[in-house]
Structures are given as C-alpha cells and as structure tokens.
C-alpha cells in the first residue's frame, strides 16, 4: 500500500494546479513555466503517493493483515492494543477484509513488495506461499522457544510444516462439523442425526427428513473437498499422497454415485439449490437459508452460522467412523520473509497464541485456541451457548482424532475448484458419475502438476 499523502505535497500540488489552470496559459505565463507546471503536477502527485515516512526512532510499526468479519476485527484490535500496552514502542498498521478477495489482495501486496509483516493464511494457500518462499521459516524461532508451540497438540503445529519448513503457526483448530437445524427437526418430531452414523444411514435419515418436513434433509456434499477427503480416509485412501493424488477414478466414481443415489431418493435439494450451497459464504449455507436441514462445514463456523438464523442449530461429526477426522489448523499466522521486523513479528504471533489475556479476548473466533492451556481457560469462561457447544463437540471428538494428514500440496485450491465444477456437472446430470470421475482425476493431476 502507498503511505498516505503528506500535507505539504498536497498543498504544493494544489498550487501547481492553480497556476496551470486559472490563467490563460499562453499569454500570461511563458511556455517554459507552463511546461514546468504541467510536468510538476503529475510528478508531485507521484512523489506524494510514493514518499513514505522513513524516520523511525526505535519505534516499530508492524503491518498485519487478516480476513474476517467485524466481530473478529474488534477482538483482534483489542488483543493487539494489549500488546502495544505491554510494548509501547510497537504499533500496528491493521488491515482486514472479507474472505472473498483476501488472497487476491495478499498476492498483489506481495508482488508489489509490500507483503504485510504478519498475515493470516489458510491451508488452501499456505503451500503456494511457502513453496515460493514468501513465508519466513519459523523453525529456528520454534527451536529457540521464541515461538512457543510446546502447548499445542503436536499434529496441529506440524500441520504448518511445508517441505520441512514451518511456514505458519496454527492459529486455531477445527474439524469437520455437520450442522443441523434442531428447530426444524423438533417441529416434525424427527430424530437428530448422531455422530457415528454410517453414510448409508445418514442418507436414509435425510430422505426421511425430506419426506416428512418437505425441507431437503441434507446439502449434497459431493463438491465439498473436506467431505470427500474424510470419506477417502475412511476408505483407507487420502486426498494426497506426497505430491500425487491419493485416490483413483473408482474412488471418485463411488463418491459421486453415493450422492447421485441420495439425490435420486430426494435426500438433497435440486442441483440449482446445491449450487447455491456450494458458495463458501457462511450466510449462503443451506442450513441457515432454510433450504436444507444440514450443511457440511467446519465446526468452528457453527457460532457464525447461528448469527444468520433464528433456528437452533446442532453440530455432529460427518458420517462414518468419527476417528478418521483430524485436527485441522483453521488458519495460520505467518511472517513475511521480506519483513524488516521479523523478530517483533514472531513475538506478536507468540503473544497472540500463548498469552492468557490475549487468548481470553480472542476466544474461539478463529477456532479452538491452539494452546491447550488457553483452550481450557477459554472453555471455562465462554458464555455463548453455540461456542460452548462447539467446544464440547470438538473436545469430545478430539479424544478419537487420528493423525492429521500433511498440509495440502501446492495447487490444492485449484483441485478444490475443479471438484466443485465436476461435481456440479454430475449433479446437473450433464456427466455420469463415471465420466465425472475421469474428468476430475485428469483435472486434479493437472492442478498439482502430477504427470
């Protein structure tokens, strides 16, 4: 970002403007002066736009960039203010915005050599950034204890390791969560779905909900990579195996068939509604728009979903063996390799992750706190019933968590969008599950550069 225009430059520019425009140029001013004025205006504007304040006297201004809603911004502001209170010579230049467009902006900032010192990133992009050396390797800081991850579950901080480098510090933990509309089910005296249901049982349950309540029982998750991934793990496969895809055409075809069956039985909405639900916005999830009784999300999104509906919500694990779910870093904090204040930046991350006061302020907004002691502290003090439910659910499920897979490879975000495209082709009936499977395997391989 360009620093703000200095007042002096503005004044000069305005004056330059006035000489150039308020008098008849040819008669009253010489051509040369006119030329000077004409050249000066844009040059000054340019200079004003590029001139930064370089005079710092022991003070550090750290730029920090995250995505999220207003609520998150308020919490983050408070936590950062606390840091400044403890370290008066460190101030923050905070920038935040909605998730849509966040990564465009992060990429362009990086390209312009203005990467923020500290930024939020998720597992869709961390490999892209780490592979291109945008993120600072935090391993030395971890080893020296300047970045303390000793209270993190091991699989959680390791989920930030890309090619042997610690690219980001997990800033919150979540796992797959199936959110259902309690109010709707109660109204029709339908049983709630339960953790541990088989996929077939779940689809039968959803079909029954559709028939009784006339609201489709479940969103069709065939385009959801986290549902597909979990299902693969339950079949003993994986989304990725090293730098290769970890599944076969048969797996994809079986997955598409499973949901084609569910659609044919009326367990899901029509394809156009499924398409609406495939948008990543919280507010468009079908469980809150009332177009389906369940949505496939991440557990920490439950309180946010609740803000978009009057109905009571419940959360359970995805179907199948719950032990196959894993603790995923809902996001990370990373330091830019080009940062001029690397040590301070790491210290800020360490503070946000491990300071009890900061932890209490931040709560579970970004997922369960990574630091288990802070997590306990927050769980004891949290009042929001939906947050409470999420914490209980994740703690319960956490007991059976399997080992986390490696961070998705570079090209993962393209794999995700290809899954949406192909799954929708199948949903709209423009491709058979088998043809879709072939297309997806080709596209996924191309996306991650597997020959």
């Amino acid at each position: 970002m360009h620093p703000t225009t200095t007042p002096a430059a503005v004044a000069r520019t305005t004056r330059g403007h006035r000489t150039a425009s308020s008098t008849n140029p040819i008669r009253h001013t010489g051509r040369r002066r006119l030329l000077a004025a004409a050249l000066a205006v844009p040059l000054l504007l340019g200079a004003a736009a590029c001139g930064g304040d370089s005079g710092d006297s022991g003070k550090t201004e750290l730029s920090i960039f995250w995505w999220g809603a207003e609520g998150r911004a308020a919490l983050t502001d408070q936590a950062l203010a606390l840091y400044t209170k403890k370290h008066p010579d460190v101030t923050f230049k905070k920038t935040w915005q909605a998730n849509q467009g966040y990564f465009d902006k992060l990429a362009t900032l990086t390209a312009g050599g203005n990467a923020p010192d500290v930024f939020q990133i998720d597992d869709n992009f961390i490999a892209e950034y780490a592979a291109r050396n945008v993120t600072l390797d935090l391993t030395p800081y971890k080893d020296s204890g300047k970045l303390d991850v000793s209270k993190f579950p091991e699989s959680l901080w390791k989920y930030g390791v890309v090619d042997g480098k610690l690219a980001g510090a997990a800033f919150g933990e979540n796992t797959q969560g199936l959110v259902y509309n309690k109010t709707l089910l109660d109204k029709f005296k339908l049983p709630a779905p339960t953790t541990g249901m088989s996929w077939a049982d779940f689809i039968t349950w959803a079909e029954n909900v559709s028939k009784t309540s006339k609201v489709p029982g479940t969103m069709d998750p065939s385009a959801s990579y986290q549902a597909f991934w979990l299902w693969l793990k339950q079949q003993g496969k994986d989304l990725y195996a090293g730098n290769q895809i970890g599944f076969t055409e048969q797996d994809v075809a079986a997955w598409f068939e499973l949901w084609k069956g569910a659609r044919d039985r009326g367990a899901t909405p029509t394809p156009d509604v499924i398409h609406e639900g495939n948008a990543t916005d919280i507010s468009k999830q079908l469980v809150v728009t009332g177009k389906a009784a369940t949505s496939w999300v991440w557990a920490n999104q439950m309180p946010e979903l609740k803000k978009n509906t009057k109905d009571e919500l419940g959360v359970i694990a995805y179907p199948g063996k719950p032990g196959s779910q894993w603790a995923r870093a809902s996001m990370y904090l990373s330091v830019s390799r080009s940062s001029k204040h690397k040590d301070t930046a790491v210290d800020v991350i360490n503070f946000l992750e491990n300071d009890p006061e900061a932890g209490k302020i931040l709560g579970t907004d970004r997922g369960l706190p990574s630091n288990l002691e802070i997590r306990k502290l927050v769980a004891d003090s949290v009042t929001d019933p939906n947050m409470k439910q999420t914490i209980t659910f994740e703690n319960e499920l956490g007991k059976t968590f399997g080992p986390a897979p490696a961070v998705p490879v570079k090209g993962h975000s393209k794999v995700r969008s290809e899954l949406v495209r192909v799954a929708e082709e199948v949903e709209y009936g423009r491709m058979t599950p088998a043809a879709g499977a072939t297309a997806f395997v080709v596209a996924a391989k191309a996306a991650i550069g597997q020959s």
């Binding site: 990429a107 390209a111 945008v134 709209y428």
Partner: protein, 327 residues
C-alpha cells in the same frame, strides 16, 4: 480542432460538423495551440504512461514468462511461446471461455442496440414529460457495471426470485435462471441488454441531426413510416449506429462484473458464465498464473483489434457520411 476532427471522423457520433471547423485553416497560431493542448494533456499523458502503457509493455514481457505473482520479477523464467501454445492447444477452459464470450457478444450486442434504437425512436417525439422518460430509460446505464445491480439480478432471477413469482401469476413455473447452467448466460445477456441507456442517448442525439426536410419531402412523395425509417432514418443514422456498434462490441467482449458477482468469481454454474475476462482473472489472481493470464490478455487485445478492423472494413458498405458527397 483539426486533429480531433480527422481522428474521430469515421465514427463521429454527432453527425455533420459545424461549418466553423471548415473555415479556419491551418496556421502558426493553431500549431501553438496544439502544443498547449499537449501540455495540458500531460498530467493525463504521464498518467497513461505510468498506469497504462508501462504495465502493458510489462505484461507483454510477462506473457513470455512463468511469472506467478509471488516470485519476485527478477527471478521469472523466460518460457518463449509456451503460454500461447498452451492456450490454443491444451488449456481445457480456454476455448470454452472464448465460446461463452463470443456467444454473449453476438446475441447481447445486436439486441441491446436494437432496444436502444427502438426506445430512442419512441423518445424522439415531443410529448409531455419526454425528459422524464429519457431519464428513466437512461437510469439502468448509470448503474452500469455496478456490483449492487448484479446482486439484485441474482436475487431476482433465482428459483424463488421476483421474476419467477411474476411468471407464477400466469401459472408458469420458471427455471432457476442464474443457478441453471442452461440459462445463466442468458440472464447475463438480459442484464446487459437492459442497460441500453448509453447507446440510446447517442442514438437520440443522432436522430435530432436528421433534417426534417427529408421527412417532409418523403411525406409529399407519399412514403409511409416504414419507408421513411428504412430510407431516411437508417442511412442518416448509420454513422451513429456504427459508432455504437463498435463501442458496444468492445464493451460486450469485456463483460466481467456481472459474471463475477453472479458466479462468486468462479464462472459457474459449471462454467456457463466463464467469460474470457473472468477466466483471465481466475488464471492470474486465483491460480497465480500471471504470465499465462498476460498472454491471454494480449491475445484478447489482438482479437478485439481485429474485430474492430473487420467492423471498419464492412462499415464502408453501409455507413453513409453526409459530408462524403461534398468532396
């Protein structure tokens, strides 16, 4: 005046020029005026250089590299024509995006021009509150390209949107329009056509320029409304039609905002709204394939240039300039 005149001559929207332009000859004073004009233009010219020209040249260079946004420019690798080759041979979405864009332009542009001309003809009469109507019809264009409008469109044209409620009055069950791969692009076309205000205003200005004597003479000769339209209005208006056609064609090919908003930036449902510019955006900013996206941009520029040249060539056969006979 003289430079401006030659530059815009073939597409002059206001029709015959004032006689004053012909009277003044070239001279020293005029040349000096020209220099002054460039000086006054310099803030814009420098801006053009910094914001448009230099990045354009840079993007031409990048189109021959594997630039991925995150890697510093100094480390990019020259890949020759690879990006261009990939575009025309292996990229599965490229030709799809071309098809979507061309069909969008082929259908939406003529219909939009027809709508603009039709309404302009209606509004060219004098009746009370004609000004109000002109304003109302122009209104959608003021909102042009806006995100808000695209969002309204999405809400109007989904399964339980206002449009289907309207159809339901007649017992018709509508499609889910924007969420239906068969109809999503058509919905975007309707949005584009509805924003016919800008060409309409230009048509109106052109219609005002048609001398009334011609119509009067035709009436005396017993010509009906259709013949007057066909043999007076259309030929007299042809430079304006041409101008609008060129402008709207270029505009049509560049459609981005509505497609982006409607599909959350994905080009969906199932790539049905994957316009060329949207595909380019996805390749460059989402997939970080900026070198490839730059190559796409240059092919796009050349293609639009060629289409414009073709339009100019064919224009010779049907565009009549009223001052052509004078020379």
């Amino acid at each position: 005046m003289s430079t401006v005149r030659t530059a815009t001559r073939p597409v002059d929207p206001v029709g015959p020029r004032s006689p004053a332009a012909h009277r003044r000859g070239p001279g020293v004073a005029r040349r000096r005026e020209g220099t002054a004009a460039y000086l006054f233009l310099s803030p814009w010219l420098l801006g053009l250089m910094a914001i448009t020209a230099i990045p354009m040249v840079l993007s031409l260079y990048l189109s021959f590299t594997n630039y991925d946004v995150l890697t510093p420019l100094s480390e990019v690798q020259w890949v020759g024509w690879d990006n261009y080759r990939e575009m025309f041979t292996t990229d599965p979405s490229y030709w799809h995006a071309v098809t979507v864009t061309v069909s969008f332009a082929l259908i939406a542009v003529p219909l939009k021009l027809a709508a603009a001309l039709g309404v302009a003809l209606l509004l060219n009469r004098s009746f009370r509150s004609v000004g109000l109507f002109r304003g109302l019809f122009y209104l959608p264009s003021l909102l042009g390209g806006s995100v808000a409008l695209a969002i309204v469109w999405v809400n109007m044209f989904n399964r339980d949107g206002a449009f289907n409620s309207f159809l339901a009055l007649f017992g018709i069950e509508g499609a889910p329009w924007v969420n239906d791969p068969h109809w999503a692009l058509e919905t975007l076309m309707v949005l584009a056509i509805w924003q016919f205000g800008a060409p309409m205003v230009i048509f109106l200005a052109g219609l005002k320029q048609v001398p009334n004597e011609l119509y009067e003479a035709a009436s005396v000769d017993g010509a009906g409304n259709w013949r007057k339209f066909r043999f007076i209005t259309l030929p007299m208006l042809s430079p304006v039609i041409f101008f609008n056609l060129v402008l709207e064609t270029i505009h049509g090919f560049q459609g981005f905002t509505a497609a982006f908003v409607l599909s959350n930036g994905t080009g969906g449902p199932v790539d049905s709204t994957l316009m060329y510019t949207l595909d380019l955006y996805i390749k460059g900013f989402v997939e970080l394939n900026m070198g490839y996206a730059s190559a796409m941009a240059w092919v796009f520029l050349v293609a639009i240039g060629l289409i414009t040249v073709v339009l100019f060539r064919t224009g010779r056969f049907w565009v009549h300039y009223s001052d052509a006979e004078e020379h």
